[in-house]
Amino acid sequence: MSDTHAQTVAYVRTTMLPPQDPPRAEAGAIKWLRENMFSSWLNVILTLLSLYLIWSVLALILPWAARGIWDAASLTECRAIRDQLYGEGSDVACWAVISDRWQQLLFGFYPQDLYWRPVLSLVLFLVAVLPVLFTEMPRKLLILTGLAPFVIFWLLWGGSIWSAVSILLGFALGWAVLKYTSEPLGALGSMILAVVVPLLYWFLLAGTVAGALHAVLPIGIQEVQSKQFGGFMLSIIIGLAGIILSLPLGILLALGRQSDLFFINKVSVGFIEIIRGVPLIVWLFTASLLLNYFLPPGTNFDLMLRVIIMVTLFSSAYIAEVVRGGLAALPKGQYEAADALGLDYWKSMRLIILPQALKISIPGIVNTFIGLFKDTTLVVFIGLLDPIGLSNSIRASTDWNGVYWELFIFIGLMFFIFCFTMGRYSLFLEKKLRREHR
């Protein structure tokens, strides 16, 4: 056949027909519908039933939400407008409560003329996390990421710039301890020292240092008290601080739990089990009430800071367990190969083990973070004004007494946006890492 040429054989086609579309029923939406929704009798029934359910829910909610009233100063006014528009007693939303009080829901009692500060902080935060979330960004930006928390701290609470600087000094101190004592003391001893020294500094010296510096060179902006913080701003601050701090702590706890060193191992296990075994709300009450008995009288230990610490400890116990799962999933050969090349414990963890273990743990870690973020609403029980707390106080005003759904829908939607974004990012990261290391 190989030497038969097309032009010599009359029945061989020399030009190709253009490809035809597949028959209508075999393509596009119709085919998809037939295969996925109407492929059998059972499937048809289920499809129709689901459609009916969705329709009835939407029929209930959509008109209520879409016909909602946005422009009113109080619930009574809202009702008057409604009666006028849709007739007496008809069921429509009163979104006016949101348009009237959205600033409060977002910022709590933060001074109105200073709203730019939390907004700028959020922008700064988003810029600062970019190089962390997306590894394609230049690595040098990570230095800015490291400084961002201190700038944000200063922007939010205001006051003298030197308090932020003096806190930053504590971290520098820890870093210096780590750098210069790891030779004589060994990795573990120097790490413990690098935690203890800054803590002592913050408790005993930081205030004095800041005061002294301020006396020499007073730079500052208007101070805002913690109790003026509220709304989503509060949830986001507590949530993000908890998320950022609990990841490294959780990793250390997971390594501790895996460690052969008796003391480290038992402390980690004990810590994880105790923290996990008690409800968060109990820890929050501990933070707000009990700590006052333990701290020396007169110390003014910010309630928000206490809450952040508690939330961090709480979620780090969960992170530790998630990461431990990742560590256990790695084949023993990875540990052995790292050892056999002469990498010491910390290097093999940092370069070989953790990158792989964390990759496995991403879904669990993000899951924990989402949980933590939503759990910040529990702070309402110790008197902090998170969105739920604010919705209570909005309802306590005579203007909006009796509004429930609208507030909760708004709050729910806001939380959903945050949590959904985190979930999507986790999927993106999983896909990307899978693509990279097939």
Partner: protein, 263 residues
């Protein structure tokens, strides 16, 4: 097991055994719980030796060579590697390990790093070699194992034989003075066994001190200067390859050889 595959002339000009001791093991014992895995092991390895360790499954071959870079700890007796005794003194263990290369049965490459990064990681972080220099060295050894073009792929994209050659290159990048191989070819298909064995033969030709646990008797005959037979945690017999294969003394060795060579 094949009597394979080493189909070329071996260049013996650099294969010389010096009288410098590389590894000295004496009266070494090891237990797993109550199970006595290694019994009174005495073994002296001179620099430049190519030793093949053979023996039935479970006889303690892996355990023995894993003791040499302290992936396993022994409980009595002594192991001296390059003049340093492996004791409970932890300070120098990473130093010993960086001088002793190890190749595993299942390669154990790092799947999250590229081939090149696998090879440069230890030189950069353990030896503090500048990145550029480490990469040049890595490319040199990747060329030697004949896969420089794979440098930017991930281990998961390579065949088993290629992965094992990368693993050998990764060890060589640390410029080790001793290489340990634990059944480097037994997880591979026959075609790939040859490419890995070729690499090992070349290494032997350059005078590397090697301890290989392997069932490739062709390799043993071609390059080993000593074959050690282990059974039930003991070194039962050792001899130069010709004598070992043609004139085994011990009954257990004879039985093992008849099984493995199919006589």
């Amino acid at each position: 097991m094949s009597e394979l595959a080493i189909d070329r002339e071996i260049d013996r000009s650099h294969m010389s055994v010096s009288d410098e001791v590389a590894i000295q093991i004496s009266k070494m014992n090891k237990w797993y719980g109550t199970f006595h895995v290694l019994r009174d092991i005495d073994l002296t390895v001179y620099r430049g030796e190519r030793i093949v360790i053979a023996g039935p499954s479970g006889s303690g071959k892996s355990t023995l060579i894993r003791c040499i870079n302290r992936l396993e700890e022994h409980q009595s007796g002594s192991i001296v590697v390059d003049g340093t005794e492996l004791g409970s003194d932890l300070k120098n263990i990473d130093k010993i390990r960086s001088e002793v290369g190890m190749v595993f049965q299942h390669f154990n490459l790092f799947p999250h790093l590229t081939i090149l990064e696998n090879c440069t990681l230890a030189p950069i972080w353990v030896r503090k070699t500048p990145k550029k220099e480490a990469e040049a060295t890595a490319m040199h050894f990747l060329e030697k194992v004949k896969i420089p073009e794979q440098a930017h792929k991930y281990p998961g994209q390579l065949s088993g034989g290629q992965q094992q050659r990368v693993a050998i290159a990764r060890s060589l990048c640390m410029k080790p003075r001793i290489m340990l191989f634990d059944e480097p070819t037994s997880a591979l298909d026959p075609e790939m066994i040859k490419e890995v064995l070729d690499t090992m033969v070349e290494l032997a030709e350059e005078g590397m001190t090697m301890l290989c646990v392997t069932h490739e008797m062709g390799f043993a005959q071609a390059v080993a200067n000593r074959v050690i037979f282990m059974d039930a945690g003991q070194i039962v017999e050792q001899n130069e390859p010709k004598e070992f294969f043609n004139n085994p003394q011990n009954e257990r060795t004879k039985l093992f050889l008849s099984q493995i060579l199919g006589h």
